[in-house]
Symmetry: C2
Subunit: 478 residues, 2 copies
């Protein structure tokens, strides 16, 4: 069994090589397998179950805010993609093209959707005529394709699963409110279900989505101090509507152009979970999205009454959490390591001695704290512990982010931090693109966002010294 235990635990230490640690976790926790198409991954049952939990919770939030799901075609004709100029400039270089259907060459080549703004616009044009048809609050769960050069499981894959919300409104104000509302939904989702704090902000013009007037973002900080853009929400104004000729008649029977938004999150969130909470023993899952929230490991299960008691506990806990029992022939030690690797939030051990004492042992995955719990109280204590795990994860992640967030008021200070201290750098900016480019060049960082909650660290741009207009979070990013 020693060999098996070794096998389960055999992952690179985080401090040694973070990228290798990440890949090891993704494979050993059985989240993915590689396929023969580079950048396209197989999402295995354990990985997909996490995505299903994310989907179900987020979809609930979308429905609660009045959104309806639809399904658009996966193909976009070349001429349709080209209708909005900025959009095609942004996405053109990374789309895949279908040129043949069956044995025939297509009259017009089709790209596999990298995002579906153009398809939604085409549909809106068909169904929107009057102010009574507005707003439309739509969302789609699907896969999209972007032919990236470098790829990493979940973080940057050529095909990925996502949701894309697309809404259209009578007024600019309403569309702007929707953009911010959905950013808040994302932030709440990350904090409430993924135990992951995020910075809410606006992207600079340089980092905006292709075709957007404003891109809002939530930025999280990973264990290694790199930022991960975890969700974006775009305000389009009437640019797409004009390009696609979408109009509606208002109450005064006059033609007007509507205003649009889109917003998306992807399977990248699974990468975010791994790199926010994981440790040298593997994955650590926030309880809300863990496929198994508690695993029961019977100890000395050949002894009379142990299996039966484990089954009884499982039946009782099924009412309050997602539970499973591992009755396999592997040793308890092997099982401990296996479920630590898979990040199961709680482990419950039950053996002959525990039964005698009418108790069980519960161990938290996040901090390995051990609890002796009376069997009379499991239905109340386990949900409490799950909540404690969630809170513990959130607090640890928040504390780390705060520790790894630095202020810089001079360029020297800025570069010094960028070179030596992984994390966010907060610094003032004059809003000049040249300074943004220069900070990238000299410090290797990009602007992550202009936070919604602005502070003033100084009245000068950290780069050029001219009057500062915005506080910006800067950082290296995935």
């Amino acid at each position: 069994m020693a060999k098996n235990e070794k096998m389960v635990k055999d992952i690179t230490a985080m401090d040694e090589d973070f990228a290798k640690w990440y890949t090891d976790v993704v494979i050993k926790a059985e989240l993915i397998d590689y396929s023969s198409v580079r950048g396209c991954m197989v999402i295995r049952p354990y990985g997909y179950a996490i995505w299903e939990n994310i989907q179900s919770l987020m979809d609930g939030m979308f429905k609660a805010t009045g959104h309806e799901n639809v399904y658009m075609p996966m193909f976009i004709p070349e001429s349709l993609l080209q209708k909005e100029k900025d959009h095609v400039e942004g996405f053109g270089p990374e789309v895949t093209w279908v040129t043949h259907g069956g044995s025939e060459e297509l009259e017009e080549k089709l790209c596999v959707r990298p995002t579906s703004e153009t398809l939604f616009c085409e549909h809106y044009k068909n169904i929107i005529h009057s102010y009574r048809d507005l707003p439309k609050l739509y969302n789609q769960w699907c896969s999209v394709v972007r032919w990236e050069k470098t790829t990493r499981p979940f973080l940057r894959s050529r095909e990925f699963l996502w949701q894309e919300g697309h809404t259209i409104h009578a007024t600019a104000e309403e569309a702007e409110q929707e953009t911010v509302r959905m950013l808040n939904v994302y932030a709440e989702f990350c904090e409430k279900y993924l135990a992951m704090p995020v910075v809410k902000g606006v992207k600079t013009e340089k980092e905006r989505f292709a075709g957007a007037k404003d891109t809002y973002t939530i930025e999280a900080l990973m264990h290694d101090g790199k930022a991960l853009q975890s969700g974006t929400s775009h305000y389009f104004g009437d640019g797409f509507a004009k390009a696609f000729g979408i109009e509606f008649t208002n109450k005064e029977n006059k033609a007007e152009t509507p205003h649009q938004t889109s917003w998306g999150t992807t399977t990248r969130l699974i990468g975010a979970i791994i790199m926010t909470h994981g440790d040298d023993n593997g994955l650590v899952l926030p309880p809300a999205i863990a496929p198994t929230q508690l695993v029961i490991v019977p100890i000395a299960s050949h002894k009379p009454g142990v299996k039966e008691k484990a089954a009884e506990i499982e039946a009782r806990l099924k009412e309050v959490c997602r539970v499973k029992t591992d009755n396999s022939e592997q040793s308890p030690g092997w099982k401990f390591a296996e479920y630590e690797m898979k990040g199961v939030p709680l482990r419950l051990e039950i053996g002959p001695k525990d039964i005698e004492n009418n108790q069980c042992v519960v161990v938290r995955r996040d901090n390995r704290e051990k609890y002796f719990i009376s069997l009379d109280e499991i239905e109340t204590k386990i949900p409490e512990l799950l909540k404690a795990v969630h809170d513990g994860l959130y607090e640890k992640a928040l504390a780390r982010r705060e520790e790894m967030t630095y202020n810089a008021t001079t360029l020297e200070e800025f570069c010094n931090i960028a070179d030596n201290k992984p994390g966010f750098i907060k610094a003032m900016w004059c809003e000049d693109r040249a300074c943004e480019d220069k900070l990238k060049e000299v410090a290797g960082v990009t602007s992550r966002c202009m936070p919604l909650v602005q502070e003033s660290l100084s009245d000068k741009c950290v780069c050029c010294g001219k009057p500062a207009k915005k506080l910006v979070y800067w950082g290296k990013a995935y």
Copy 2:
């Protein structure tokens, strides 16, 4: 308002032109919109909500039978598709090819999955080593592409949504049992949730899935007497495993080849619902998958207390069914027609007079029967009525199928029925492909299936007169 009522109801009569009726319903009930890519449709919120209900119920049945969801890449390299000879011969002619990623031509062209056997096999080869790794019971919800020449919404589209189950087992027996088990799951699903009776059977060799040793099917009969293949389950034997070199070591440490199955149902089921239950007023939805099971239409809603009472009823009924209230400014008549078009199973009318009498009026969509129900009893009566609608739909569909199923024992009789009576023809067959081809040629029908429950109508093949081996259901099909 007269004009609006007309607009809602303005669909072709079924008897006049069934195909046109179908298209009218699909559009007027707001299930789909066409896109600029022929054969690829936009599934609108109402259509997609039906699919979400189908998904959720069917996924529950899959999970209850031990299946896990996964996600495979959408692209299959040409060389991978070609590994199993029969499979590529069957699918090759209708696949779409991606030849360019970004600005570069791909080294190897990729097809957009028409089905994922080859991808699952590639993955199995990576993860299956020992008998302990078997069985794997996997399922995937995704979209697939088949470049069909003629297309119709839901029934035959170039892109469609589906689930594809893929399982792999240590023994042939276990795989065969799985194939039949999933066929039974499909049949139960259709009857229990779609109120649609199906014939369970086996396809002839000619109609088999490309690469399968046996294809099981459920066949339903549509309103116009044409058959609709509504789900299939394939037994592959070890053909794919051998082609892909998948092996496992058995308990005696010897190498063995595993056995596989796959099974699928698609958004075609929505077409089946439309053509099984629909009528000249539009869609009729089985309660289990109806996005709205009961719509409340307030009558004289400007009168005091009506809106409030409607809201109170809605709040109470939310506990027992999917309910919504239409408080829009349209007339009750317009609303009645609108929700009939959309196939909402029950309509509840509440007006000042009803409130006085402490009652409401409930009208069934399927047969327009009207009930006066005491407001004290709605929580018990509405679920009863929903069940009555389901049962009524099922019985009507079953009676129609029985009426439209004919026996033939001579070729003349067979051709006569095929020419004059739409429906299933039951007739004996010698198992010779030549007879199957001839019946297609002279009577325009295909073999739908050899039913699992066999009977003997005669001891001679209906076509050649040689000894009969199987009872077959024949028919024209979608």
